[in-house]
């Protein structure tokens, strides 16, 4: 029971690093992708947060990005192994197009996550650890403090740009 | 045992969403409250095994929210 808790913590850290790096790689904090993301970013910056960080958080909400990709990839691997993860990537791609988003953050996130999760399963993780881990990772970014999270993302963004 | 806890939690979500939708004044807040409500309902449908129903409902409820937004926008302008 305690060992499972430890696995979920490690999975959370892996998921956190994975989805943040893919999103920042695809320049999500650069601008609000859709008008809703822009509005959320501006609201967060009005409350003292970083504007680029806020834009990325808005993009996470309004369009399937690497966070959605990683979560659905984890669900896919959970139900059907690597083919399930690839099916999840296809579903995320379709979802992106439905939301008028021309980016590939979600699809690439899902594919990379599928292989990372499958690899981790060889060393003893369970796919369900990654489902819980990804949800916890999103909780830390979107659900605890918007201002602090956006400043953290803004800090990473300045590193990359 | 887990099933009962989950069902209890989902029922709580549904009531929370319904109460929030009724009490909030801003129309956009009310739409968010409906989102809370549907988030509680969909897992209950999945738990009974009606996966195809769950897929249909999960697609239809956001679409109707979008329709409501289109109608709301037209009324104020």
């Amino acid at each position: 029971m305690l060992e499972e808790f430890g696995r979920i913590v490690v999975a959370t850290v892996i998921a956190w690093i994975l989805f943040l790096s893919i999103d920042i790689f695809w320049r999500l904090p650069q601008k609000g992708g859709v008008s809703g993301a822009d509005a959320i970013g501006t609201a967060i910056s009005r409350h003292g947060g970083d504007r680029n960080g806020g834009w990325m958080m808005g993009n996470i909400i309004c369009s399937p990005d690497a966070s959605a990709g990683t979560l659905l990839a984890a669900c896919g691997v959970f139900v059907a192994g690597i083919p399930g993860g690839i099916a999840a990537a296809v579903l995320v791609y379709v979802g992106n197009r439905i939301c008028h988003d021309k980016g590939y953050a979600g699809t690439s996130g899902a594919l990379i996550a599928t292989f990372i999760i499958a690899g981790c399963m060889q060393i003893g993780f369970m796919a369900s650890d990654f489902i819980a881990g990804m949800v916890l990772a999103i909780l830390t970014i979107q659900g605890l403090s918007h201002t602090h999270a956006s400043r953290l993302i803004g800090y990473f963004w300045r590193w990359r740009a | 045992m887990i099933e009962q806890i989950i069902t209890l939690g989902l029922t709580g979500l549904i009531f929370l969403g319904a109460a929030a939708t009724a009490l909030w004044k801003n129309p956009f807040d009310k739409l968010i409250g409906l989102s809370l409500l549907s988030a509680g309902v969909i897992p209950l449908i999945v738990m009974r095994g009606y996966l195809d129903v769950a897929i249909v409902v999960a697609i239809l409820i956001p679409i109707s929210t979008i329709f409501i937004l289109l109608l709301l926008g037209r009324k104020t302008s």
Binding site: S35, I61, L139 | S35, L36, V46, I55, I66, L69
Partner: protein, 72 residues
């Protein structure tokens, strides 16, 4: 499950409408994970994806409608 309820609770407690949306997003992630947990079946993946895309579309529509109303 608990994460979904936490997201819902924070949504109710937050006063500003636009900032409610990140908490709703947390809740939606939680629900998507939950429905795959309670019924491991390949079709559940499609259901979780459909639910998630639906929740993203909905949040996007609400946010852009608020943005458009602020512009007027």
């Amino acid at each position: 499950m608990s994460i979904a309820l936490y997201g819902a609770a924070r949504t109710v407690l937050e006063k500003e409408t636009l900032l409610k949306l990140p908490f709703v997003n947390v809740m939606n992630f939680g629900i998507a994970g939950l429905i795959v947990f309670i019924l491991p079946h390949p079709l559940t993946l499609v259901a979780a994806a459909a639910y998630f895309v639906g929740s993203t579309l909905e949040a996007n529509a609400i946010a852009s409608a608020i943005a458009r109303r602020k512009q007027e």
